[in-house]
């Protein structure tokens, strides 16, 4: 009987392996990274599977995770809202990492107070709330910027990201630019030592926590606040206007010269109608796709999928409140995608 069991299980195992390798012909890509664009990616990859029968498995584990898994070569592509620093690029000296911009988004300040009024926020107020020096909602500084709104006397509970996040990078990048105190004490990064605040995992976790914690405040990508009917702060930009985060104000912030490798920060934009905490979000991949015995097919599938994202995929951005790429960014992406090689020869003609 034992022998029968052994034979049966070996047979089952062999069948599984056989069938899975047969199934493996079904094209499949793996990506990991930012939660910032996750609602858009999940929609785009769902559509892509229906139209082209290519499965793109994307796991939103945070920009830090996306960069790390790409470096470990355990995924086909990573996704991050924080472009790699020079130091991070140096970690892969022989195979450079290409950044392909996908869309634009806004990091909004969302909060949970009774009535969910649209509060106006200045850089100084934001800096002090997140540094912990402003502790109550009805603090004179917040009240001064919002004279018509009666603010409650509840304590402010700050919610931040517990994982390595591109959204954190964008937000801290903005705060570093507008506040010398912040630049000195906390700085910019995907994972910083916030002076105060609870930690939640992913944009979804932060939104989830704020939604149920009265008096809380935090930073998330726009769509997470909108989809959950949460209040959004109106932030004063560099030119002095209070800008609501919308498709238009984010696109306005992107009206700057984009460098060739598209690694640019859009925070604290000079654009007069631009929302000050906007950013690109990128998909990152290796320039030379023949590593770890990757097949040319896989590389081609990947580059074609990214080409689709930069062109036909853009129409899914606006319904989800992400700004589609400006023309200059699309042209840059095309140039960069054409530079992806397999064994030295470009994959796309």
């Amino acid at each position: 009987m034992f022998k029968k069991m052994v034979i049966a299980s070996v047979a089952v195992f062999l069948c599984t392996v056989f069938f899975s390798s047969v199934y493996a012909q079904n094209k499949e890509l793996m990506g990991a990274g930012a939660t910032f664009p996750y609602p858009l990616y999940s929609k785009m990859f769902d559509v892509y599977k229906q139209e082209y029968n290519v499965t793109v498995n994307y796991q939103a584990i945070g920009s830090g995770g996306g960069i790390q898994q790409l470096m470990n070569k355990t995924v086909d592509f990573g996704a991050t809202d924080a472009f790699l620093s020079e130091k991070e690029m140096e970690q892969s000296p022989d195979n450079s990492i290409v950044h392909i911009p996908v869309c634009l988004g806004a990091v909004v300040v969302t909060y949970n107070i009774p009535g969910n009024p649209a509060l106006q926020m200045t850089p100084e107020v934001l800096e002090e709330i997140f540094l912990g020096t402003i502790k109550k909602w009805n603090d004179t500084k917040i009240q001064a910027v919002n004279p018509q709104i009666k603010l409650p006397s509840t304590n402010i509970t700050v919610v931040t990201r517990s994982d390595g996040s591109g959204t954190t990078f964008i937000f801290t990048d903005y705060l570093t630019k507008v506040s010398t105190q912040w630049a000195k004490t906390v700085g910019t990064g995907k994972s910083v030592n916030f002076p105060v605040g609870l930690g939640a995992k992913g944009n979804a976790g932060v939104a989830g926590m704020i939604k149920v914690t009265p008096g809380s405040i935090g930073y998330v990508e726009l769509i997470y606040a909108l989809q959950n009917k949460m209040a959004v702060g109106i932030v004063k930009n560099k030119s002095g206007s209070y800008i609501k985060p919308t498709l238009e104000s984010v696109s306005a912030a992107a009206a700057v010269k984009i460098p060739d490798d598209t690694r640019v920060s859009l925070t604290n934009t000079d654009a007069p109608q631009g929302y000050p905490i906007s950013s690109f979000t990128w998909i990152i991949l290796f320039k030379e796709q023949n590593y770890n015995s990757r097949s040319k097919d896989t590389a081609k599938t990947l580059v074609e999928a990214l080409w689709w994202i930069a062109h036909q995929g853009q129409k899914y951005a606006a319904p989800l409140e992400y700004s589609p790429l400006p023309k200059s960014a699309v042209e840059q992406s095309e140039k960069l995608l054409k530079s992806i090689t397999y064994n030295g020869t470009p994959i796309l003609k």
Partner: protein
Amino acid sequence: MTIINGVSYRVFKDHLFKITTIIASFLLLVPLILILFYIIKNGISTINWEFIINMPKPVGESGGGIANAIVGTFMLIGIASFCAIPLGILVGIFLYDHKSSILSWWTRFSVEVLQGVPSIVIGILAYTWIVIPNGSFSALSGGIALGIMMLPIIVKSTEETLNLIPNHLKEASLALGVPYYKTLLKVIVPCAMSGIVTGILIGIARIVGETAPLLFTAFGNQFINYNILKPVNSLPLMIFNYAASPYEDWHKIAWGASFFLVAVVFILNVITKLVVRRWKVQF
């Protein structure tokens, strides 16, 4: 003094203690009932045939199901069982056979330490051993991590059940001239089947709900995947991801998945009890 040592006082203390104990024990039922109540109340409305068959929808859209998680969970359990059951039974037989050699002492020690290793540490190990060399997350790595967790349970239950079998069975078989290995495999082990099967069921019930080792091995997948070399989703992983999100739809799905999971664990427990009752080793 009379009051303290009086019989009625002592009887009073006795009754007081008994009542406190009974109340405290049944207080323990309160969280259990709350948990089950929550799961049933929130989960049962989501469970329908579509829920089980469909795949999840993109973020923010309602509907969708847990088919990919169910398939993934089955795959992971299959891989884990394939790794752990044969090895576990073999080791159990070994420990039964050799009660006091150096090798058996070290084996027992290893099994005991393995039983206590936190699941997240096993996740780290599977990541280092399988994910990185392979270059991708896979159901295989998740299954192996779960298999490592299942192993001690199977070893223990096999050994304990075998120990219950009285020696005269073995001796009678040997006296009839049956070779030792056949005695073990065809006489002793079949007697212990109920215990071994119980151990397997308990092992499965334990790993079906494990999430931590899968965080960086099986990784998750929004689509159904049958390839063991690619990532899969699993019920607990899905619950974890959806639970902390702000989307009401995702919460509903998570409750439905929790209901499904708890039902599976419950059914496994019931089957275990039936197996024990029907196949009990009796001499």
